[in-house]
């Protein structure tokens, strides 16, 4: 194998773009960059360290995501990458990219409302149905198929749908 000496900046860029393509195993239309789970890529003496942050403390996808990042970087020829979990600052749905919100909607999951303040958490929410766009919707369950989602129903088209919770 030909080893090309890369500058730290180039290596970091390559590592970032490889890591950024890793998708959330539970919502495969979103990359970890869309979600804001990918926080940082650092290079020290040619060694790459990727920092990710969990959406929820108990998110079971984190181990899988860490493994996927290592594989993605190895495939790019980056040897022995390390993945580190950081807790601070705490993840918020405000970090989700516009592109990510659009992809979620197209996938059939209502994206989180912007402004994840405590007021948003406890106040009235108006969530638009990702199928028909109607805002005549109701909450079925505070908790859904994964930690990050709640279950809603559209009263116009009668379809139940997942809503990505504000956090």
């Amino acid at each position: 194998m030909v080893t090309v000496a890369l500058s730290d900046a180039d290596l970091r860029r390559r590592a970032w773009s490889a890591a950024a393509q890793v998708v959330d195993p539970e919502i495969p239309v979103l990359t970890i960059a869309d979600l804001g789970v990918l926080r940082d890529v650092a290079v020290h003496d040619g060694h790459v360290e990727v920092a990710i942050t969990p959406t929820y403390s108990g998110c079971p996808a984190m181990n899988m995501i860490a493994l996927e990042i290592e594989l993605a970087l190895e495939r790019e020829g980056i040897r022995g990458p390390k993945v580190r979990t950081v807790l601070s600052p705490a993840w918020t749905t405000d970090w989700m990219s516009e592109d990510g919100r659009r992809k979620l909607r197209e996938y059939g999951i209502a994206p989180p409302l912007p402004g994840s303040s405590r007021r948003a958490l406890f106040g009235e929410q108006q969530v638009a149905c990702p199928q028909c766009g109607s805002v005549d919707t109701e909450l079925l369950s505070e908790f859904g198929s994964t930690s990050c989602k709640a279950l809603w129903r559209c009263k116009s088209c009668r379809e139940p749908f997942d809503y990505f919770k504000c956090h």
Partner: protein, 258 residues
């Protein structure tokens, strides 16, 4: 038990982290016992999700306790290889699930506290604890909202749901005082700005709890006699049974992984 218990050097900071980790682990385990048994599919998911949040908090706190202790213990050893007397959780969280009303009252009492506690702990001078607090407070706020709604529905529901919710409040009330107590070791951490004094949260906790309980047409007991002991390992008989299930795999097949 087939496997020896680990020894833990309980410096004040290690003990502090273990106590909070044990609260989250034991309550999370209790919630997981509902999996497949909840009264409705939505609640099954809700209880499992809340259990998962708590398990995540426990893992972070245990991992930090292990790092501070520096004796080669880790989150798994803390969870699987300590016996009842080594557990440091609140008596409240180990109380059996009982009926759905009892589970919700237990969750409500704890979440109303955890919501305030973790929000205040975000100001800790300990960066790791402040970071764990910042994640936990968001989760606790959601748990509080969920359980509050149930307390109102149960209390202001049918005669039977009211009776069951009131019984649960009466039975669990004596375990709430322990949340606000601190010992000398923890007092030192409070003085150093690492921990916050839970006693300062008592009036706000009581206000939240009283508000919801009143809305639910329920009542808080008059008694202010409170049971304690969990923080020093004097547990009710229920914890041993819980641990025998939680730890059975590691105790039977030491070091098993998959």
């Amino acid at each position: 038990m087939a496997t020896a218990n680990i020894e833990v050097s309980e410096t004040p900071l290690v003990l502090y982290a273990l106590r909070r980790a044990d609260d989250a682990l034991i309550l999370g385990h209790r919630l997981s016992e509902w999996c497949g048994h909840a009264p409705a599919m939505e609640e099954d998911m809700a209880l499992a999700n809340m259990g998962l949040d708590l398990l995540g908090q426990a893992r972070e706190l245990d991992t930090y306790a292990a790092k501070v202790e520096g004796r080669g213990n880790d989150e798994d050893k803390f969870a699987y290889l300590r016996d009842v007397r080594q557990y440091r959780n609140l008596l409240l969280v180990e109380q059996p699930n009982g009926d759905f009303a009892r589970t919700m009252v237990r969750q409500f009492f704890y979440a109303a506290f955890a919501d305030l506690y973790w929000r205040a702990m975000m100001a800790s001078s300990d960066a790791t604890l402040a970071a764990i607090a910042a994640k936990s407070e968001k989760e606790s706020a959601y748990h509080l909202r969920h359980s509050s709604e149930w307390i109102v529905r149960l209390g202001d529901g049918t005669e039977e749901s009211h009776r069951r919710a009131q019984n649960a409040i009466d039975d669990l009330w004596a375990y709430t005082g322990e949340m606000f107590a601190v010992d000398d070791g923890e007092r030192g951490l409070i003085d150093a700005g690492i921990a916050i004094d839970p006693a300062t949260l008592k009036s706000r906790w009581l206000k939240t709890v009283t508000g919801i309980v009143n809305e639910a047409t329920l009542a808080l007991p008059k008694s202010d006699w409170m049971q304690q002991g969990g923080r020093i390992g004097s547990h009710s008989e229920h914890l041993g049974h819980l641990l025998s299930e939680l730890q059975s795999l590691q105790r039977t097949f030491p070091g098993a992984t998959w």
